[in-house]
Subunit: 427 residues, 2 copies
């Protein structure tokens, strides 16, 4: 499949700058083959798309999600993390089967592609069913290990790592565990041993609440970052989801080990967890990616809201110039890809995967065109997503999904699942 | 024009509850004539709309805006209020003429109706041109007096009050001045005298920044609320835009005088002004409306973002149960109408103005349907606005404007204006 975009404004996001190129972008077999002004002879394309001056940029990388948690959207609200987890999430999740997870993940995929998200770093159970969903929909999933005291072992993690990394070009798998506070030290050491064996990074929920950090200090005399590092967990890098409450010493460890931060401000405000010090991470040179977390806590999977929150909450807590919007856009498109190991999906350049979106500028919220990147971060909305392409395949275009799934059937399934589980739980 | 909506879920929002009625809603000559199950014989309608189970609710009331400031979207960013005003806003605004304001307001109207906003409480110059825009587009504007030391007198305020309140059924005018910190006491006394004469409420920017409040204390020994009240400003009620930094004594004055708060969280975070204590206002029984402020500070005019910020920032600062989403939705739809004096536009009921919107539930971010009001506040987006009706006229429907204005021409005009003013200002 060969596709030509022309009359485009292109924001390649190769670095955190707002350079806009005017011209064309060609895609062949899922890969970008030209960007800018064509000098070579034009091949025959299967489709030519007039962008009419609209913007092409790399898709948003949702660097922390629990996609199947869509079933709990607007069900488990208005509680702090601990109560939310133990009173609502864990009891309801206990009734989910693999088929449920497949269907609920599909619902999230519809939300992702219609909102310009081209990949998700997904931590959930039944990873084979999430992988199948990637295969069936064409969406790109990086799966994250989630072992903890309630499920999973070093061996199961190894099994998933080995099988999922060979499953499909759209699927990859990274070592991970749920959180320090849900995983005993013996299991943590098993994860660290696998990191050593595969020379691989490890990802986990990290320093999300003040209580988690204090509790770890009480038990280990160290912050969660320092404690995990003392087990060799980050010898090959990795990342912390949330990282709302770092201790001073954590910065040095994270820099030295190459540990990424994935911030989830929508979830953090709603669960009253706090504001992650993103401006400090930026200044310290610690790479920051962005995630939506699951729909149970956020409640929507919307990168426009997340980007505004990333910058807005820093302005609120640090000052009006904090969290430069171009840096935030770079975090959303590019840093997330690097955190997830999607080195070929981080920017628009020849040879990179064609994971890209078209942003419609011909809507009132994008006018006048004073500054495109600022318009996207400060004023953008899902209404601006005109097209979403993953691996060279258009999955969404102006309200229509090119996915082998009837949206109304997906919605009906999600309603069926939550209705059944409510009955099972008697609530 | 007679319109029948059927197969609807209806959220009347007559109080801050989430009651959903299933049935029909009839509109005749701009007024709601039936809600629920029809028992009377069905008249002939000009149009019958199958809502397919989607939600009808009162439109959002943008209770504080400077609509024409669209020209500075993504132009004046990343600065705190004082610098933003004096370095960017005031010098650029000085070049605006009445025609500019008409065109730039039209751009905001397109953004309003496509985002489900059915009325705006607009504080800007050349009110006659904003009123003309209301007339030409069918949008409902409540104009707010904006006199201050740089323009306007008691007499000009009286003139505008008399003429604009007779201009068009879609236009009304309320007494107001820019802010305590931009208006000398003699002019403030003139405004208060008009309030007394008309027995009318007065509206102004109020206690937006900590510096403003401290400065007022230094000069007058009182908070801005107490100082203005001491001049008789709120003898007939009124409202404060922003109200981020109340002093303890302000609560008693506001309750006694019936002073509304209009909160503008998008603008407040972006200008680093702080978080208004909305949960305290709710608990004190002080009515809270919501506004977007202008596009120069926010930068979009999006009530979904504002509603999430209203509740999210309270959860962050007070606790996860703060700012109940149903209350927030009631603030957005109903309290704003009451603040603006639009007593016939505050809810869906027989005899009320047909100022309403249809929210599409058949999108991934609204599924499953666990709780409609929570879905709207926590997960809603402009993509969910399927239809916007003002005074019984459909102005927007699924991507198409029924407004006598070519959107592309409106965008071109806005770009022309900012380009010209940039040249005039040499920047």
């Amino acid at each position: 499949m060969k596709i030509r975009f022309y009359n485009a404004r292109i924001l390649p996001m190769q670095t955190a700058d707002d350079t806009v190129i005017h011209g064309e972008l060609w895609v062949e077999n899922g890969v970008i083959t030209l960007l800018g002004d064509p000098t070579e002879p034009r091949p025959t394309f299967d489709r030519e798309i007039d962008c009419e001056g609209n913007v092409l940029l790399p898709g948003f990388k949702n660097a922390h999600s629990h996609s199947a948690m869509t079933f709990l959207r607007s069900f488990a609200d208005d509680k702090p993390l601990h109560n939310w987890l133990h009173e609502d999430v864990f009891p309801m999740e206990a009734h989910l089967c693999g088929d449920d997870i497949y269907d609920l993940t599909k619902l999230a995929v519809l939300e992702y592609v219609s909102g310009g998200i081209t990949a998700a770093f997904d931590m959930y159970y039944h990873v084979d069913r999430i992988a199948q969903c990637a295969h069936d929909t064409g969406f790109r999933f990086v799966l994250c290990g989630a072992v903890n005291d309630f499920g999973g072992t070093g061996e199961s993690l190894r099994h998933d790592y080995e099988t999922m990394n060979r499953y499909d070009p759209l699927v990859s798998y990274r070592l991970g565990f749920h959180a320090e506070y849900t995983t005993n030290e013996s299991l943590l050491r098993d994860v660290a041993a696998l990191a050593e064996e595969y020379k691989a990074p490890v990802f986990t929920h990290l320093s999300e609440t003040a209580a988690e950090v204090e509790d770890c200090f009480r038990r280990t005399g160290m912050s969660p970052v320092a404690y995990l590092d003392s087990l060799g967990m980050f010898n090959y890098g990795g990342g912390g989801f949330h990282m709302v409450h770092p201790r001073v010493g954590d910065f040095e460890i994270m820099k030295r080990r190459g540990v990424y931060v994935c911030t989830n401000p929508g979830s953090n405000v709603k669960l009253s967890s706090g504001v992650a010090p993103i401006e400090e991470y930026y200044r310290a040179g610690i790479p920051v990616a962005i995630g939506t977390d699951g729909a149970a806590s956020n409640n929507c999977l919307d990168f426009f809201r997340e980007m505004f929150l990333v910058t807005g909450l820093q302005k609120l807590t640090v000052g009006a110039s904090a969290a430069d919007p171009v840096k935030v856009l770079h975090s959303a498109c590019s840093v997330g890809a690097k955190m997830m190991g999607l080195d070929d999906c981080d920017c628009l350049a020849v040879g990179k995967q064609a994971d890209l979106i078209m942003i419609d500028l011909k809507t009132p919220n994008m006018q006048p065109i004073n500054h495109i990147a600022k318009n996207i971060v400060y004023s953008g909305s899902k209404t601006n997503v005109a097209l979403t392409m993953i691996a060279g395949r258009i999955l969404y275009e102006r309200g229509t999904y090119a996915i082998d799934a009837d949206p109304e059937a997906v919605y009906a399934k999600a309603n069926e699942i939550i209705t059944r589980i409510r009955k099972q739980e008697g609530r």
